[in-house]
């Protein structure tokens, strides 16, 4: 019954995606309710449950929203750092996140096939490999497409970044094929927080806990890095005045490169979390995730790391609640509208500093 429902919903929602989704529906439908994707199956089951258990439903959506928001927050850190220092929107950052997801997937596959079974070991190796290789992607993109344009006219880096975004999307399509790549759930199990009389359970799965904790830990580490280390001080110096920083002995090129490397490494973590949480990657996932993460960065205040995560959580919650209570079809419209509204009324974001225009 449940499987039938899923099939029909997928077919109705998007005929194009239906073929690839059919492959997945078996797996998805059998996933734990807590880890289910915020896709078509969620609000429908919610409609009838909401009337009876509004509070439980709300709590479950809150959990889902926080997890989604953590992933956005991890991507948003990359946007916020780069925009803070170089003053450009790294349009290809969403695709770096996608590449990170793919590398995590392939590493995972190799480890499974050579017979590694210990889950913590697999996770650690996958995390390290994905971070390292994706960071190199970030470095290369900066070196090829942005560094030569450091002193070009103002639209040039943006256009170059759009070009790079197309290159990365198409590269992974050519290299890995256009079909969605599913993996079986690696981390299973979870906790039942509360079970109501009529059977609606609030679940908190292990993977959700992992995603949120990873985000918080990484945020603390990198915030410390920016505030306390030599590299962080160089970054903040470059943010304020690149010429002056260079005169005072800061290697500006190296600092900017490191910013891209860190951003890409965090995007790789986000890619891995996305892979674990949703159980799939595809070559097209970077575009929308990228725009939403950018929205998060703007909402939190460009240049601020805690702001990026805060903005990510806000976007994740808004999107989840919008899907749960209004319409799942318009969840992206809601997210994009927030971007426009925030930029118009609150361009400095929640934790940002006002930008002074200089001649």
């Amino acid at each position: 019954m449940r499987n039938e429902l899923c099939t029909s919903l997928y077919a109705k929602a998007s005929p194009v995606a239906a073929v690839s989704s059919l492959l997945l529906q078996q797996m998805k439908c059998s996933r734990a309710a807590g880890a289910q994707e915020l896709s078509q199956e969620l609000p429908l089951s919610g409609v009838k449950l909401r009337q009876r258990q509004p509070m439980d439903y709300f709590t479950q959506q809150l959990i889902n929203g926080l997890v989604l928001g953590s992933i956005y927050g991890l991507i948003a850190i990359g946007y916020t750092m780069v925009y803070g220092i170089v003053g450009m929107i790294n349009f290809a950052h969403g695709d770096i996140f996608m590449i990170g997801g793919f590398i995590a997937l392939i590493t995972f596959l190799i480890l499974i096939s050579i017979g590694v079974t210990a889950v913590p070991l697999i996770l650690l190796v996958v995390l390290l490999v994905a971070m390292a290789i994706t960071a190199l992607y970030g470095w290369t993109v900066e070196r090829i497409a942005y560094r030569p344009l450091r002193h070009s006219f103002r639209l040039a880096p943006m256009l170059s970044a759009i070009g790079m975004s197309f290159v990365l999307t198409n590269y992974s399509q050519v290299a890995q094929g256009a079909r969605v790549k599913p993996i079986p759930p690696l981390i299973t199990g979870g906790y039942t927080l509360h079970e109501s009389a009529d059977g609606f359970v609030i679940q908190l799965s292990n993977i959700q806990i992992l995603v949120v904790i990873t985000t918080i830990v990484l945020l603390l580490i990198f915030n410390r890095l920016v505030l306390r280390t030599r590299l962080g001080r160089d970054m903040r110096a470059c943010e304020q005045d690149q010429t002056m920083a260079a005169l005072l002995g800061v290697n500006v090129d190296r600092t900017i490169s490191m910013t891209f490397v860190i951003g890409a490494a965090l995007a790789a973590v986000a890619g891995l979390m996305y892979l674990l949480y949703y159980g799939q990657v595809d070559f097209n996932m970077g575009f929308v995730a990228g725009i939403k993460a950018f929205t998060a960065a703007v909402l939190g205040g460009i240049g601020s790391l805690p702001g990026a995560v805060l903005g990510g959580l806000a976007i994740g919650l808004i999107e989840t609640f919008w899907s749960a209570y209004f319409s799942v079809e318009y969840k992206d419209v809601a997210a994009f509208s927030i971007l426009i509204i925030v930029l118009i009324f609150m361009p400095t974001g929640l934790l940002g500093r006002p930008e002074v225009e200089k001649v």
């Binding site: 998007s14 003053g87 290789i133 256009l159 590269y171 050519v174 890995q176 790549k181 725009i291």
Partner: protein
């Protein structure tokens, strides 16, 4: 100054011996090896039962790393022989001057050739269809050129206005049966109104923020079209959009058709030729309006805005109004092009209005040289013609397209084909070209 630069050149020459080149190439190859090791060396695919399988492709990996190694050596050698690759080296000044003289004759020659295309290729339906497609993109390029090229506002959601125009015509014509000639101006005006509605709040944002907001707007329009099924038909689109008529005379096989009225034998090509001249007329209208506007105070203000916004404000130009008119003018032409697209296809769906389409039009403007009308036309021809030529290599299309955008930005940021300087400027020798400095510096 010159002595210094010569010194640095000789210094780099001595430093760049063969070991240096080899070391650099080796490092590039090493980076490539790590980058491609998993993405190209291993290919994953979901099997029929949803189980993921993989196989290795070390041959491809090795050849790509080899190509990077060889390419790196070649680029480094070329850099030593030619010097730093820049616009001046790529196109010598003499050629440039020749081009500009040729350019004076090229535009009329191209126009005459375009007018004659239906005569020359009357029996080749494929070429006529392709020509109509190219002209549609020429028109879109010229429309976006007002926004990006003249006013310097990066609009990543131009396709939204194209969609508004197309859906306006499609819905008005299918629901109320209004004729193309009433709907065409309406489609343009509706698109322009959307342009004003979007532009009014967001135009005080600076460059990149504006770009991302227009992108979001384009996506919102597309998502609304997909999801508002009762009005737009959702992903299925609108079908049965009426064909255009020659001011009320249909171009079909019936007794009131144009062929019957003129007493000539009916042929389906008549309609294609009519569509060709229709889009040509629309495109030329766009071009004419743009050229006229450029000479009006508002056009001068656009160009000034592109060069330096802060100076504009200091001189008392109302930047919001100026930006808004540029936005609305661009949207108007986008709406016209959309209405034409709908009537030509007879069927529209949201798939035609994705971000890729926006980026393609933007790439045409960038490639053509922002602000240059002839450049944009040539870029549209090269781009759409190129896509047709390499139809078999469809999957590599966006890869090449993306690289082209990156490389053009690095080598010739103001456009590969043309470059339009401001129409008026003070005749004073500049210390450094504005191409080479960041906004507000130099």
């Amino acid at each position: 100054m010159t002595a210094l630069s010569q010194e640095t050149v000789s210094a780099t020459r001595t430093a760049a011996g063969i070991p240096f080149i080899l070391k650099k190439a080796f490092l590039s190859a090493l980076v490539a090896l790590v980058l491609f090791s998993l993405m190209i060396g291993i290919r994953t695919e979901a099997g029929p039962d949803g189980q993921l399988t993989y196989w290795t492709r070390f041959g491809e990996l090795a050849s790509i790393v080899g190509i990077v190694f060889g390419g790196s050596i070649l680029i480094e050698l070329a850099r030593q022989w030619i010097g730093p690759i820049g616009a001046e080296k790529l196109v010598p000044p003499a050629v440039h001057r020749g081009m500009s003289i040729l350019g004076n004759y090229l535009a009329p020659a191209l126009l005459i050739f375009t007018l004659l295309v239906p005569v020359i290729f009357y029996n080749q339906r494929y070429i006529l269809d392709l020509a109509i497609l190219v002209l549609t993109y020429v028109m879109l390029g010229w429309g976006l050129n007002v926004v990006v090229g003249l006013a310097g506002l990066l609009d990543l959601g131009y396709v939204a206005f194209y969609a508004v125009g197309a859906y306006s015509y499609a819905l008005l014509a299918t629901n109320f049966g209004w004729s193309f000639w009433i709907c065409l101006p309406l489609a343009g005006i509706l698109a322009a109104m959307w342009g004003v509605m979007l532009g009014f709040p967001v135009l005080r944002l600076r460059g990149d923020y504006l770009a991302i907001v227009t992108l979001a707007f384009g996506e919102i329009i597309r998502l609304v079209i997909i999801n508002w099924q009762s009005l737009t038909g959702g992903p299925n689109g609108v079908t049965g959009i009426p064909r255009p008529t020659l001011f009320g005379i249909p171009l079909d096989n019936s007794d009131d058709g144009l062929a019957a009225k003129l007493g000539i034998e009916y042929s389906p090509t008549h309609r294609i030729v009519f569509l060709f001249y229709l889009i040509l007329a629309l495109a030329l209208l766009t071009n004419w309006v743009t050229i006229r506007l450029r000479r009006l105070p508002i056009g001068r203000a656009w160009e000034a805005l592109r060069e330096d916004e802060v100076a504009c404000r200091a001189l008392g130009i109302n930047t919001t109004t100026t930006k808004l008119t540029a936005f609305a003018t661009g949207a108007l032409f986008g709406g016209f092009a959309g209405a034409f697209f709908a009537t030509r296809q007879g069927f529209i769906s949201p798939e035609s209005f994705t971000f890729q389409e926006s980026a393609l039009v933007l790439a045409i403007v960038v490639l053509g040289g922002m602000g240059s009308q002839l450049g944009v036309a040539l870029a549209a021809l090269a781009m759409i013609g190129g896509f047709e030529l390499f139809r078999g290599l469809e999957i590599y299309r966006m890869l090449v397209f993306g690289w082209a955008m990156v490389l053009i930005m690095i080598w010739r940021p103001r456009g590969l084909i043309g470059h339009r300087a401001p129409t008026v400027y003070l005749k004073k020798a500049q210390a450094i070209s504005s191409d080479l400095v960041k906004e507000g510096h130099g």
